[in-house]
Symmetry: C2
Subunit: 146 residues, 2 copies
């Protein structure tokens, strides 16, 4: 297999991993989401604090705040892969209904860092965010569309 | 050179690139910052909109809003490199004084994506953010410390 083929194969595997994680999120399947991550997974999430480690307990607690499936759609996805590491970035759309009745319809930025572990691609780092308004209000920009 | 040596050399070169960018920011040197980026550089910045491309004009305009040097310090930096791509993530501390007199002292998360172009490492993607409070206020969490 030449380098070009290998890049294409790895890109397809990473795209598949991102799809599997979206399916697990939709189904609120804690084990499914955690199986996509490395053991040393480090997350910069939408919520404080600045940095998180993988914690199935908090993931389950967060899933329990949703009434039904959590929808995710990714747009403008770029994947850069070489050897046994890769990163991707794109715009994500999260949709669904919380237990409180709140309708979620949020576009945010998502950058992922990957490592190949024992022949399988895993997510080692996740950075999800919205920007904030520079008008002195410090409001998170949760109303932006791509 | 074996793979281990090559990884060490590449990591050192990427660390050096991050330092050079910090020096250019400190000096508010537009060309210095832009020279660290690929031509197709894509940024998810602290400020709206969701996504930006490299724009020396807006960088110069932003630099002009500062009274003196822009300080940056990086903590807990992780670099993952393989072949001709890499990513890094860590917590950044931005300090300085704006023209308005406002004192900036902000910790944020920064994830970088790199590509080796013509033998030189460049920043192809930058994602900078703070999380936001999930208490219904949608306030950006600009007061967090690592």
């Amino acid at each position: 297999m030449n380098i070009r083929d290998s890049k294409t194969t790895n890109e397809a595997a990473i795209r598949n991993l991102i799809d599997r994680r979206a399916d697990a999120l939709r189904a609120r399947d804690v084990d499914g989401v955690v199986s996509c991550r490395t053991a040393d997974y480090a997350e910069y999430s939408l919520a404080p604090p600045l940095s998180h480690v993988s914690d199935p307990g908090s993931l389950a607690a967060w899933f329990a705040t949703w009434r039904g499936p959590i929808g995710t759609e990714v747009r403008d996805l770029t994947i850069v892969v070489s050897g046994d590491s890769a990163y991707s970035f794109g715009l994500s759309h999260m949709t669904g209904t919380k237990i409180s009745g709140e309708e979620v319809d949020l576009w945010f930025r998502e950058t992922l860092g990957f490592r190949k572990v024992g022949g399988n691609w895993k997510i080692a780092h996740e950075h999800s965010s919205v920007p904030f308004y520079m008008d002195g209000s410090f409001r998170a920009a949760v109303d932006l569309k791509p």
